[in-house]
């Protein structure tokens, strides 16, 4: 029966894969058991392992969820019967026997207030008695919580160990705060890097509009509205992300204003795959590339030129490129600009490049192909899948399907 051949072949593939997996696993086990070493080494490993498991959950602070997850490892680390983590507000998370909750809260408050470890013996607990040791978690000199270990009996070793664990937890919490402030810094950096609308552009646009007011009032009105649209988008306060479609809209406004000055000298070709229109990109990440092409590529070129904007689908990524046939950039100059030196020209490129790297990682920076007199091609590659990021769209005029409505 031929179907059984198909099945046999598939079964063969699956069995083969399983066999390879089993062999690899066994090999790892054998190697691991050979290298486990002496008891001391094993104990060290065990301690460090538990600590690193717990550390993962302590970085976010010791609120309930994290405390619950970390508590398990901490209890194993201390080898006590029950363990309670108490946060600054007095919230108690118990790992083990839940009957110790109220005692833990009281001891933790005492420990936090005194800043020293507290030991209490013979605490009545259900059918028996237990001892407890509480150690404050002091981060930056102030108590952010306490750790309470219950064991019968509490020996000096456990008291010392609890103190050490509390210090270690404090270090983790501090590290977590450091992480948080680093993330906040990165975010602030991205905000600060958010392209600023160039004063030249405002000046030039207003002049261009002024020149139309008498000769062609309708055109002047059109341009003022275009200017309003553009500034509204660019000055938007909230949201660090937008969609390709909205970015294109802003580029349209921008180019209409530039065309008022350039006239027919500025030609534009667009090649946009509809599949990437809804891709999320950092706010103002394509428009500065176009502005760079106009200001540094075409403005100084006699007879103007053509800008080609393409956005295409490339597997799991969207590839967006802006090309002009203008005067090009000296690669050495560009290199120093992108490396962070010599601000001035092309600062828009550096800005976008830095933000892309910040958001998507080092390999997602801008790719620039250029030479003097050879035009410039700037490309960026953005993952289409960004479940964590929402494109903030504040535009009521944008139709429900993301289309431009006129």
């Amino acid at each position: 029966m031929p179907e059984s051949m198909l099945l046999a072949a598939a079964a063969g593939v699956v069995a083969g894969a399983l066999a390879v997996g089993v062999v690899l696993l066994l090999r790892r086990l054998v190697v691991a058991s050979r290298e486990l070493g002496t008891d001391v080494e094993r104990a060290t490993y065990q301690t460090l392992h538990l600590a690193s498991r717990a550390a993962k959950h302590l970085r976010g602070g010791i609120d309930e969820v994290d405390a619950m997850r970390a508590g398990r490892y901490l209890r194993a680390l201390l080898g006590c019967e029950s363990l309670a983590l108490v946060d600054r507000a007095g919230g108690v998370t118990v790992e083990g026997d839940d009957a110790v909750r109220s005692v833990a809260g009281r001891l933790a408050a005492e420990a936090s207030a005194s800043g020293k470890s507290q030991v209490q013996r013979r605490i009545p607990l259900g059918d028996g008695e237990t001892d407890a040791v509480a150690a404050p978690i002091l981060a930056d000199g102030r108590a952010v919580g306490a750790i309470v270990a219950f064991a019968a009996p509490v020996r000096a070793g456990l008291v010392r160990a609890t103190g050490e664990v509390a210090d270690w937890v404090a270090a983790q919490v501090e590290l977590g705060e450091l992480d948080a402030s680093r993330a906040a810094l990165a975010e602030a950096e991205v905000r600060a890097l958010r392209a600023q609308i160039s004063p030249h552009f405002i000046y030039n646009s207003l002049n261009a509009i002024a020149s139309f007011i008498n000769t062609d009032p309708a055109q002047a009105r059109e341009l003022v509205l275009e200017f309003a649209d553009f500034t509204r988008y660019s000055f938007r306060r909230h949201g660090d992300f937008t969609t390709v479609a909205e970015e294109l809209r802003s580029i349209d406004s921008y180019l209409r204003l530039e065309r008022a000055r350039f006239g027919d000298r500025l030609k534009v070709t667009l090649q946009v795959a509809p599949e990437v229109l809804s891709t999320v990109v950092p706010f103002l990440s394509i428009q500065p590339l176009v502005e760079n092409a106009v200001r540094h590529g075409l403005e100084s070129k006699e007879g103007g030129g053509r800008i080609t904007i393409t956005a295409e689908d490339s597997g799991a990524f969207a590839e967006i490129s802006v090309e002009d046939d203008g005067v090009g950039i000296d690669p050495a100059v560009l290199e120093s600009v992108l490396a962070g030196g010599a601000p001035g020209e092309h600062v828009g490129l550096r800005n976008v490049d830095a933000r892309l790297r910040q958001v998507y990682g080092e390999e997602h920076g801008l790719v620039v192909e250029t030479n003097v007199g050879a035009g410039t091609l700037v490309r960026m590659r953005v993952p289409k899948s960004q479940p964590g990021r929402v494109a903030a769209s504040a535009d009521a005029a944008l139709g429900p399907d993301g289309r431009l409505e006129r």
Binding site: M1, R237, Q271, A273, A316, Q386, V390, P400
Partner: protein
């Protein structure tokens, strides 16, 4: 049959697909008008594209073949293939579009905040995709063998090579218009021959008689259906559609959840219309070509019938049309699958580079080729049905629970996927051997979905329940994002002032 027709039709479709994939849309999309460039894909186009990608060899050749072979039991296949979109519409389409995750692995990772859940899902997506490509290649093998007389492997090889080259070289990515075109080509390629054949059959001298008793003997009628098998098949087909990677990717072309829903409704209509024709083909086959009713041969019914009923140039023309449609089906479904598989493989294993995508595209075309060459098809519709059963038992519980249940945890999801994969996988692969031992178990092994899907769901729920600590922190925020319509969200934004009306 005249092999020249076969060669001509296949070459034309292959060359046209490749050319359109590479150049056609590059030219047509170029504009200097921002208004034109920012037009999103309309739901109609998108729905056609989904149809184009979805209607595979199983739909184009398999259903008519299965009707010829088994009678009315096969009618459940077109119903299930279509109604699966109803499930998609009800449970998945809009929330998934809103999630912002582009593939199912991305979705599970974002939803469950777990690397491991992602890895398991990726693995399943890849396996499902590969096994879904295999019937396409087998269909190609059959078509080439019947129509040109070349050895069967030539067809599989040709399709695999064309798809690998075109996808790796950057053409035919997820170009909506190409896939939409393929749908209308497939529809025409079946509808025109069916109507022509019906006219010929009806107007012949003397008019051919279609005796219902012969075409659908009571033994093959609904009265004789096995309830368990039917229910199980429907579970597989209805829920299996939810997890097909190449179909889900298409929903991201919709700008928002509302458009995703509208698209799904149109897909339902388009598929319902399409499936009339393979059904009619099967019906005609039962009346006029009962000799083809043998496993493995019956799938060729659609290719052979026009020539039998309409001799002469008209028949040859109709045959050429059908061959072209069939090849369009193989190419479009396989390329859609290869694109999404290559995306998953390159992202998870090869670092997401362009080169990685190319390598992954070649791998994803050639692994199924090896399987297709090593095996022989017994029925395209049936083997695709098994892939659906596997999908329904593995990805569907995670997807639905992930969208609709707060309590899902990474451990629960992994346990559920593993359970579903092991149970349905072993039923599908080892079913033949097991049912020889236990004949009473045969229906349960041949159509496993009705018990594997509930078990997978149960395991997922139980393990998640036992792992309440594992509920990801961002669950509420994520679910809110999935279920609150975008429009409302925008309205709630701080800057909602109107804009000056234009003259």
């Amino acid at each position: 049959m005249n092999p020249a027709i076969g060669y001509a039709a296949i070459t034309v479709v292959a060359v046209a697909s490749a050319l359109i994939g590479f150049y056609g849309l590059r030219v047509s999309r170029t504009t200097s008008d921002f208004y034109v460039a920012s037009r999103t894909v309309r739901p109609w186009w998108n729905a056609s594209a989904i149809g184009g990608e979805y209607l595979s060899a199983a739909s184009f050749l398999g259903i008519a073949g299965l009707i010829l072979l088994t009678g009315s039991a096969a009618l459940w296949f077109p119903i299930g293939y279509t109604a699966g979109y109803l499930m998609l519409l009800l449970f998945v389409a809009a929330p998934l579009r809103r999630s912002g995750a582009y593939t199912i692995p991305d979705f599970t990772e974002a939803r469950l905040e777990s690397e491991w859940a992602r890895r398991v899902t990726s693995l399943l997506v890849i396996v499902i995709g590969w096994f879904y490509i295999v019937p396409q290649l087998q269909g190609a093998a059959l078509t080439v063998r019947i129509t040109t007389g070349l050895p069967a492997w030539a067809g599989s090889l040709a399709v695999a090579v064309i798809v690998a080259v075109v996808v790796a070289a950057g053409g035919m990515r997820s170009i909506t218009f190409v896939q939409a075109f393929q749908f209308w080509l497939k529809l025409t390629a079946l509808a025109v021959p069916v109507i022509a054949l019906l006219l010929v059959v009806n107007g012949g001298e003397p008019p051919a008689q279609l005796t219902p008793a012969e075409a659908f003997p009571p033994a093959a009628g609904p009265g004789d259906l096995d309830v368990y098998r039917t229910v199980s098949l429907m579970v597989a087909l209805l829920l299996g559609t939810l997890g097909l990677p190449h179909v889900l990717v298409r929903f991201y072309t919709n700008p928002d959840g509302v458009a995703a829903r509208r698209t799904t409704v149109i897909v339902l209509v388009l598929l319902s219309v399409f499936y009339l024709f393979p059904t009619a083909f099967g019906f005609l086959g039962r009346a006029f070509a009962p000799d083809l009713a043998a496993p493995g041969e019956s799938d060729a019914l659609v290719l052979l019938l026009p020539d039998r009923l309409v001799p002469g140039p008209l028949g040859e023309l109709l045959t050429a049309l059908v061959i072209a449609g069939a090849f369009a089906a193989f190419l479009s479904t396989s390329s859609g699958l290869v694109v999404s598989l290559a995306g998953v493989i390159s992202q998870d294993l090869l670092g997401g580079s362009v080169r990685g995508f190319r390598i992954a595209a070649v791998i994803s075309s050639f692994v199924p080729l090896v399987v297709a060459l090593a095996t022989e098809s017994t029925g395209l519709a049936g083997s695709v049905g098994l892939v659906f059963a596997f999908t329904a038992s593995t990805l569907c519980p995670v997807l639905i629970l992930g969208i609709w249940w707060r309590g899902l945890t990474a451990r629960g999801a992994i346990a559920g996927m593993a359970t579903g994969a092991v149970l349905s996988g072993s039923a599908i692969l080892g079913g033949a051997a097991l049912s020889a031992l236990l004949p009473g178990m045969r229906p349960f092994l041949e159509q496993p979905a009705a018990w594997t899907v509930p078990l997978a769901v149960l395991v997922t729920v139980l393990v998640s329940r036992g792992d309440r600590r594992g509920v990801p922190r961002g669950t509420d925020a994520f679910l809110m994002r999935l279920h609150v319509p975008e429009h409302t969200r925008h309205r709630a934004g701080p800057e909602t002032s109107g804009r000056m009306p234009r003259q």
